[in-house]
């Protein structure tokens, strides 16, 4: 039964290998890609079903008993993340097939896409700190290539920043894993948690925690380590940046939550305070950065940062309600943010640009697209009854409960500024009359977008509505997941079999 946990890794791997075998035939690669991502979506749903009904599932790879081999663990939190990853992978692939230039697709887009998904799933599943490093690298190297696919001049600046900062963070992570192994003699996360709980607090462990914190902070784009993100996310093809926007930073957030709730629990107060301060600064710098931008995808990139701030804030409060809010926020954010990036790609394919000053009049010409934009945009800003409202509400409520009024005030302010950014895009791109003669020549080449690009956008929008309308059961689920995260004993028991 537990062997199922390997499926979200195996499906992308197989698909990637098969795609490599048919390098020249794009159509075969597309079919394999669709089947592969659909299969992993099915497997993650099934894993979630089992985890939900039977509790945490553990797979000891190669049948090596727990602290010695590599362990895969699926608790509720990681199985929710798995579903989101494979769902995003599936829907974005539909969009990518019809939107990415076939020349770029030929340069290994499909295999890399699958390797990226494999890395993300692996990072969510693994229960071994070094294995986490390996999955991070699998994910990173495929994202490096996807980011510069095509090799245009505009992609270079962001790519250099993205690659060098992420490599630096991986090195810090590796050093941290090395110290942990030297100190405890184990790499298994449950075993680390168990052993470190018995050790006295030491400078070595605390400095390791800082290394991990910086490493994951860079990957999650936390203040002041976010500079690579807004410089790189607006340059690749829309489908690729949508996938990055939805998944990659959330892997960093997942790693922060996992390590600081499970492994480094000794000196938690200090780190939670640091997180608290950083979360406020992350929210503010993200949203203020967005306010000064004039390019749709750049605005959205900066909003990723401000939203990461919300998630980190919930982690920093570290109450069951706040953590449930964080998990709910991640669910909401992945779906909404991916969708907004996909829509920006449609706008780009219509006008050839995403500069707000050069586009306009979309509402008259494309009413369906406008509605589909309005749903995720206002959900991002937190308008009820859309999903973002409940996500923000639960975090703010959690903050009120523990008297963190300053953070609550900041997050409300950030909510208002998010609304400002979204209405800016709405009024500039959709409501404003299209400038006629004076505008740039790219507008002459205005094309129609393909209907297949609208399908995933519509599905994401429906999901956003559903999360908003059925917020209660999803919040219940997030609460259960948060309860598991807050109780490392259960995790340790399932992995090691000790209380």
């Amino acid at each position: 039964m537990n062997d199922l946990l390997i499926l979200p890794i195996i499906f992308p791997l197989l698909t990637a290998i098969l795609s490599l075998m048919f390098r020249k035939q794009l159509n075969i690669q597309r079919i394999f890609g669709l089947i592969g991502t659909a299969a992993s979506l099915g497997s993650t749903l099934f894993i979630f079903h089992i985890v939900h009904s039977e509790g945490i599932q553990v797979l000891q790879l190669g049948n090596w008993p727990a602290p010695f081999g590599i362990t895969f663990v699926a608790d509720l939190f990681s199985s929710i993340m798995l579903i989101l990853a494979s769902l995003t992978g599936f829907l974005v692939l539909i969009y990518a097939i019809s939107s990415i230039d076939p020349q770029k697709q030929r340069r290994g887009f499909y295999p890399l896409y699958q390797f990226l998904l494999m890395g993300v799933s692996g990072a969510f599943l693994t229960g071994d700190i070094f294995n986490l490093y390996v999955w991070f690298e699998v994910m990173l190297i495929s994202s490096f290539v996807l980011l510069v696919l095509g090799g245009d001049r505009s992609q270079m600046e962001g790519a250099v920043k993205y690659v060098s900062l992420n490599l630096f963070s991986s090195i810090l992570f590796l050093v941290g894993a090395g110290i942990l192994y030297g100190k405890t003699g184990t790499l298994n996360m449950a075993d680390l948690s168990f052993k470190l709980a018995q050790e006295p607090e030491s400078a070595l462990i605390n400095s390791t925690a800082v290394l991990f914190f910086i490493a994951f902070g860079i990957k999650a784009a936390v203040f002041p380590l976010f500079f690579w993100l807004p410089d790189s996310y607006h340059t690749p093809a829309a489908a690729i940046s949508a996938l990055f926007a939805g998944l990659l930073t959330k892997v960093g957030v997942y790693a922060i939550i996992r390590t600081f709730s499970l492994i480094f629990v000794k000196n938690q107060d200090f780190f939670l305070t640091v997180l608290l301060i950083l979360s406020g600064l992350t929210m503010l710098s993200g949203v203020l950065g967005a306010a000064s931008q004039n390019d749709i995808r750049k605005i959205l990139s900066f909003h990723i940062i401000s939203q990461i701030g919300y998630m980190i804030m919930g982690m920093a409060f570290f109450t069951p309600l706040a953590l449930a809010g964080t998990i709910f926020y991640i669910i909401h954010h992945i779906i909404v943010k991916t969708n907004l990036f996909l829509i920006s790609g449609v706008v780009r394919s219509i006008y050839g640009t995403e500069q707000l000053s050069e586009i306009g009049g979309l509402y008259k010409k494309y009413p369906l697209l406008s509605i589909l934009f309005a749903i995720p945009a206002f959900s991002l800003a937190g308008i009820p009854p859309l999903s973002g409202f409940f996500a923000k509400f639960s975090l703010i409520w959690a903050g009120m409960n523990i008297q963190q009024y300053l953070l609550v005030a900041i997050s409300m302010l950030v909510g208002i500024l998010t609304l400002y950014s979204m209405t800016k895009i709405w009024s500039e791109a959709f409501w404003k009359e299209k400038l006629t003669e004076s505008a740039s020549p790219v507008m002459e080449t205005a094309r129609k977008y393909r209907p297949a690009m609208i399908l995933p956008i519509a599905l994401f929008a429906i999901l956003t509505l559903c999360i908003g309308l059925f917020a209660e059961p999803i919040f219940q689920l997030a609460s259960q997941a948060a309860a598991q995260v807050l109780n490392p004993g259960e995790y340790i028991y399932h992995v090691l079999g000790i209380q």
Partner: protein, 114 residues
């Protein structure tokens, strides 16, 4: 012995940091290489240095007896070396492409080319 290794690792780390703070693209790459070498060396030291005692079970014994060299850090380092090899190879190609399309080796000149 361990002190010398630790010194070497820290010198490599410092040199790596110094290099990535330079403006040249090639020095950035060299810095990343030095840093990853330093990280590998660090794992090696953190795992404990046990000279001249291979992790092999003697014929007369059933299990390993102390002291023996821990093989796991070496396995980790091997993995890390392979990964950094791949990543550096990619980075090298990326830098070549950057130089081709932007015609500069200076990171400051990259600003605003997107």
């Amino acid at each position: 012995m361990e002190f010398m290794y630790a010194l070497l690792a820290s010198v490599l780390f410092a040199a790596g940091i110094y290099s990535i703070l330079r403006r040249s693209l090639v020095k950035l790459l060299i810095g990343i290489i030095l840093l990853s070498q330093s990280a590998n060396l660090y794992i090696f030291i953190a795992g404990g240095l046990t000279p001249a005692s291979p992790p092999l079970i003697q014929e007369s014994n059933q299990a390993l007896i102390q002291p023996y060299a821990d093989p796991l850090p070496q396995a980790l380092i091997l993995t890390a070396i392979v990964i950094s090899f791949g990543v550096v190879a990619f980075f090298l190609v990326l830098l070549k492409r950057v130089y081709q399309v932007v015609q500069t080796d200076d990171l400051d000149d990259l600003r605003g080319t997107d």
